[in-house]
Amino acid sequence: MNLRRDVFQAIADPTRRAILLLVASQSLTAGAIAANFDTARPTVSKHLQILTECELLQQQQSGREIHYHINAKKMKEVADFIEPFRQMWDERFNKLENLMKNYKPQK
């Protein structure tokens, strides 16, 4: 159950979603992925580590290099799942709650 929650935390981050999108079309090395971002290399490495731990990315040794490629099966599992929809409403309702806690009648 924890793992599942982590998957959605993983895709909640815009940089990590951008990484997934990059790798979706071709497998790439960490260096090639990092070259697409302004972010520092160690930050990109951290993102890659999280995505790998959640099994959204898989590593493949190719000679001396490690290539990252997307785990289509896991991605499909995420896409089919209801959680992003729930999170969308949860965020809206959190906003509503905060808004109304500070609500003062105008009149």
Binding site: T15, R17, L22, P84, F85, D90, F93, M100
Partner: protein, 155 residues
Amino acid sequence: MELKTKVNAEEGKHDLVITREFDLPLELLFKAFSEPELIEQWMGTKVLRFEGKKFGGWQFETSDPKGNVVFKADGVIHEFSTNKRIVRTFEMAGVPFGVQLEVGEFEAITDETSRLNMHVIFESVAQRDEQLKLPFKQGINWAHNRLEEIVSKLK
């Protein structure tokens, strides 16, 4: 952490139920659903029209920073019972999800807490499932937009 918002969508059915408990008195919860200025703030959309009464209509529209309309939805209100129930139709423009019937029930738990139960009925199972997948697709789209921004900076 306990999930405050629950979504129950049984497989093979053409409806879903969204339930949420709020640390708000019932009156304040209902108010958030009945005043356009408040709806705008928590829904993050522009409210072009909202008539909180039977036979009333509503229209939402969201634009991106460039002014392009990215979300448009409208419907009519079938029942508007203060602090109890809102029954309305909901139709999003430009998507093949058809029209939905939404039954929102509001109730007090204590003086300071309340519950919303929103039953959403779709025309078909397929339309419901497409709607459920939408936030994920949007997430991917946002990622794509961000990627485009990054790429355009490189040029």
